[in-house]
Amino acid sequence: MECVLRPCRAEDCAEVVRMIKELAEFEKLPDQVEISDQVLREDGFANNPFYRCLVAEVPPEHRSRDGHTVVGYGLYFFTYSTWKGRNIYMEDLYVMPEFRGKGIGKKLMSKIAEIGVENRCSQMKFVVLDWNRAAIDFYQGHGAVDLTAAEGWHFFHLEGDALKQLARGQLGQ
């Protein structure tokens, strides 16, 4: 199935908010979502945006059961480390359940990794809930390291060769 990744536009924010809420439901914390379409728009399309977002879109003939063509998103921003300089932080990665298993999540993540490399980032970091075995397996399959198990935090990072490989669309070691 053809799926296009593109930067989120201001008019996509309503769809992104819909998917943010779906992800929060999955994470069993739906009551914590306070964001609105308007705030997301203001914060993402200001002079110095506070986040960046990619959306995954399918053609109209493959739209979801509820009629959506925007079926996934990756929300990220740049962070900084005194140790390694620029990092790319993947805050949300989500694909609607009926579109999973088609490589869309991997495409989103690869694109974010690519953006990281283009911007001189040395690491990608993100958090995962400790019971989300499927996500942990997915990320470890791409060379991600669990820093919590190793050092006492719960952040995952992708760095150096594993990151570059992901940016090239290859599996990490």
Binding site: F50, T79, T148
Partner: protein, 170 residues
């Protein structure tokens, strides 16, 4: 010494820009053996799109009028939580050992809280290693909450009520 500490916010407001940049570079190499090139540090902090901001704590040098030395710093940036919006993320927070216990750290946290509120951040986030008991106690005492124990992540956040409290110096 503690009484005469002053705080220079990010470079925009500092008259001695070069001095501040050199001091930040010094701290980045002091705190950890940084792998960041100095040119990258300068561009990333003081270029068109800053990736980080710094608060510096300095005290006057004894016996040298008009001269000061840097004794602490905080490095922070803004992150985003799609559920609640902008956050202030505290990446580094450091006071040189001879200058601890003088309230410099508390003053830095207070200024940071003020910045967070002024910029409409919902809260301040930071990471602490779970076996670092003195640090955990330091932050919990100031109203910080361990999100990892409650929900399964390992993050600390400081909420609006405690941010306001810290900003007002309580």
């Amino acid at each position: 010494r503690g009484d005469s500490s002053s705080f220079i916010p990010q470079c925009d407001f500092c008259p001695d820009r070069l001095g501040l940049i050199h001091s930040i570079t010094f701290f980045f190499t002091l705190a950890i053996n940084s792998q960041v090139l100095i040119l990258d540090l300068l561009e990333d902090g003081f270029g068109e799109h800053p990736f980080y901001h710094c608060l510096i704590a300095e005290v006057p040098k004894e016996g040298q009028i008009g001269s000061s030395c840097i004794v602490g710093y905080a490095m922070y940036y803004f992150t985003y939580d799609p559920w609640i919006g902008k956050l202030l993320y505290l990446e580094d927070f450091y006071v040189m050992e001879p200058y601890r216990g003088l309230g410099i750290g508390s003053e830095i946290l207070k200024r940071l809280s003020q910045i967070a509120i002024k910029t409409n951040c919902s809260c301040m986030h930071f990471l602490v290693v779970i076996w670092n008991k003195p640090s955990i106690e330091y932050y919990v005492r100031r109203g910080a909450l361990d999100l990892s124990t409650e929900e399964g992540w390992h993050l600390f956040r400081i909420d609006k009520e405690n941010l306001l409290r810290m900003a007002s110096g309580e």
